[in-house]
């Protein structure tokens, strides 16, 4: 009894240390973003919101943010559409030939260092003669987002009863209408989750964008550039804190939508006799 309590106390201590390790560094960002000093050091010098005001007034930063949102929107849309097709093919009842091989290759970019992907794409794109721009960043981002889209959507398609689509065909609908009346509504939560997740992956990416963006800087590339000027550091902290809150909200939303949907076809509650 006593040892059990001691053990569980030891476990909570460990859990606490674990969480502190994960989140204290991240929480320093918002903390110093409200600190009235250019230098990142304790003791704190007093509360201010002037760094946020400076951030809000920074036109260059706005342009970078706008670029990032555009890239994220397009990249998440394309990777989700491609992921949808791949996930459908990989989870169909008649097993695809070479299924596991295809899946491994599709997910390979998860395991290749981004710096390698970035350099490889840079070489390819300049060889082909495409000017470096947001378009080249989007191409790179679709590549790194695709495994995430496939994995999220496959988990949605697995456990999808193939006879639902057959029933629709049987009741007189064409393959195309069957997709819109049955398949799409049932995988919609997965599609939303995939859009949100891939958007975040794209939004976060520095490495690929750094190699491929040319002069159209995205937000992470812009932030990296700003770090060269010590007096601008607090602006970056304010920006970082804002992004932190926004992406946490997005991830929570994606997970909520995914769970909401997971209760659909998977749930099999029976009431009554």
């Amino acid at each position: 009894m006593n040892t059990a309590i001691r053990q569980s106390r030891g476990l909570s201590l460990y859990a606490f240390a674990y969480l502190a390790f994960l989140y204290v560094p991240v929480l320093l960002l918002p903390l110093f973003s409200f600190n009235d000093s250019v230098f990142i050091a304790f003791p704190l010098r007093g509360f201010t919101t002037k760094w946020y005001a400076a951030m809000a007034a920074d036109a260059e930063m706005h342009a970078a943010l706008w670029n990032t949102l555009k890239v994220g929107a397009v990249a998440s849309l394309f990777s989700t559409i491609l992921g949808l097709l791949a996930a459908k093919a990989l989870t169909q009842t008649a097993p695809l030939r070479g299924r596991s091989l295809i899946l491994s290759f599709a997910n390979l970019s998860l395991f290749i260092p981004e710096i390698v992907i970035g350099i490889a794409l840079l070489i390819l794109i300049t060889t082909v003669g495409v000017p470096l721009s947001l378009t080249s960043v989007i191409i790179g981002h679709v590549l790194i987002c695709l495994p995430f889209a496939i994995l999220v959507l496959m988990s949605r398609f697995e456990g999808f009863d193939a006879s639902l689509e057959e029933a629709s065909r049987d009741l007189g609908e064409s393959a195309w209408m069957t997709f819109w009346r049955v398949t799409f509504p049932l995988v919609l939560p997965g599609i939303v989750a995939s859009l949100l997740l891939t958007f975040i992956v794209s939004f976060d990416d520095f490495m690929i964008a750094f190699f491929l963006c040319g002069t159209d800087t995205t937000l992470p590339v812009y932030i990296f550039g700003e770090l060269r000027f010590p007096y601008k550091l607090p602006n970056v902290l304010a920006l970082g804190a804002t992004i932190l809150v926004a992406s946490a909200a997005l991830i929570a939303l994606a997970e909520w939508v995914r769970r909401l949907g997971a209760e659909g076809p998977a749930r099999d509650r029976v009431i009554g006799a």
Binding site: S163, R169, D170, G172, L186, I271
Partner: protein, 360 residues
């Protein structure tokens, strides 16, 4: 409705998956308004055959015609057939009403006509007031009925049912068997029913096709199937049957005379002797309820044996009897057999019309 007609004509249909033929040269004719069952163990090809009739699989060879129209290559949405799936396949994102109305969207009905059809279907399955419920809120039996209504509301020429009662518990299954049969009589639509449950097939069907390894072994009405199976696999699959190895020794008065090690020499009057030549090895088959147990020898032809086990089941007893010369214990079903105990010496007799002769 007893037999035949060629409302549905399945002509030498073969379907291969890789090297194995799931359905192997099957020909069947099914009459209009018939309740027809495909019966067999899992993997016998019955579901594949049903899916080819529904348009979910296509034959490698052969043709399927419905009402004199070749439907072999038509996709499912172009066929006048509807299916009740084994999993019921109720759309989880739609309520009961919308599930039933799903197939009516393509039929260009007015809203009033559509509603009337759905109401009629809900009344048929006695689920009025369930229209707004979702699939997750229905029991297994209710889902089964919704799947049935959703298919029948399309007024198909043929309704295909893929083991629709398999997921239900025993009591509900028996109730649904009666209800299904009743609905089939009311609507008068041809039903093709796939099952591995021989009792279910016998109790519901006008005719049954017994399948094994992709082939049809016998097509007959339930009574014929039970009383005159044409081969050992059919006799084995339908009910319980005792088999005794024998040899054809001749024909007298048109009846086969067979010599068996276990039962001695006997004449077989039940089925035709024509197809057996003298000297051929054959099986003598006798149903357990056609055997008679006696404690003393009578004037009937009988053999001596010893009771291995007796189980009392209330309305009847099941008794296993070991007799010399038989490979396996003989199963006997007797109605007033409570006096028999395990270990007793008994005489086993049979009615003259009990034995069947079957090819080896």
């Amino acid at each position: 409705m007893g037999g035949g007609g060629d409302f549905i004509r399945i002509d030498k249909v073969t379907k291969r998956f890789g090297a194995t033929a799931a359905v192997d040269g099957v020909s069947l004719q099914i009459g209009r308004g018939e309740f027809f069952s495909l019966l067999g163990p899992s993997g016998c090809g019955k579901t594949t055959l049903l899916r080819m009739i529904g348009g979910f699989a296509f034959p490698d060879e052969g043709a399927i015609a419905l009402d004199r129209e070749d439907i072999t290559a038509l996709p499912p949405n172009r066929r006048p057939t509807n299916m009740v799936f084994q999993s019921y396949a109720i759309f989880p994102h739609l309520n009961v009403r919308d599930n039933i109305a799903y197939g009516l969207r393509v039929e260009r009905l007015t809203a009033a006509e559509r509603n009337a059809r759905v109401d009629e279907a809900l009344a048929m399955i006695r689920l009025q007031g369930y229209g707004e419920r979702r699939a997750q809120q229905l029991s297994g039996g209710e889902r089964q009925r919704v799947a049935l209504a959703r298919a029948l509301v399309k007024r198909p020429k043929v309704l295909l049912l893929d083991e629709p009662l398999g997921a239900l518990d025993k009591r509900l299954r028996e109730a649904m068997q009666i209800e299904l049969r009743q609905i089939q009589r009311d609507v008068g639509i041809t039903f093709i029913f796939v099952t591995h449950d021989q009792e279910e097939a016998l109790s519901m069907s006008d005719r049954v096709a017994v399948m094994e390894k992709g082939r049809v072994l016998q097509v007959a009405d339930p009574k014929t199937l039970y009383e005159k199976p044409v081969s050992r696999p059919v006799a084995d699959f339908i009910g319980t049957m005792n088999f005794f190895a024998g040899r054809m020794v001749g024909i007298s008065d048109g009846k086969a005379v067979v010599e068996t090690a276990a039962l001695g020499r006997m004449e077989v009057s039940q089925n035709s002797a024509d197809s057996f030549s003298t000297g051929a090895r054959v099986w003598i088959a006798i149903r357990p309820e056609k055997l008679l147990l006696m404690s003393e020898q009578s004037n009937k032809q009988s053999v001596q044996g010893r009771i291995l086990a007796a189980s009392y089941l209330g309305d009847r007893s099941q008794i296993q009897v070991r007799i010399p010369g038989a490979d396996a214990p003989v199963a006997v079903v007797a109605q007033n057999a409570s006096t028999f105990q395990s270990g007793d010496a008994v005489y086993l007799a049979w009615a003259q019309d009990a034995p069947l002769i079957l090819p080896e």
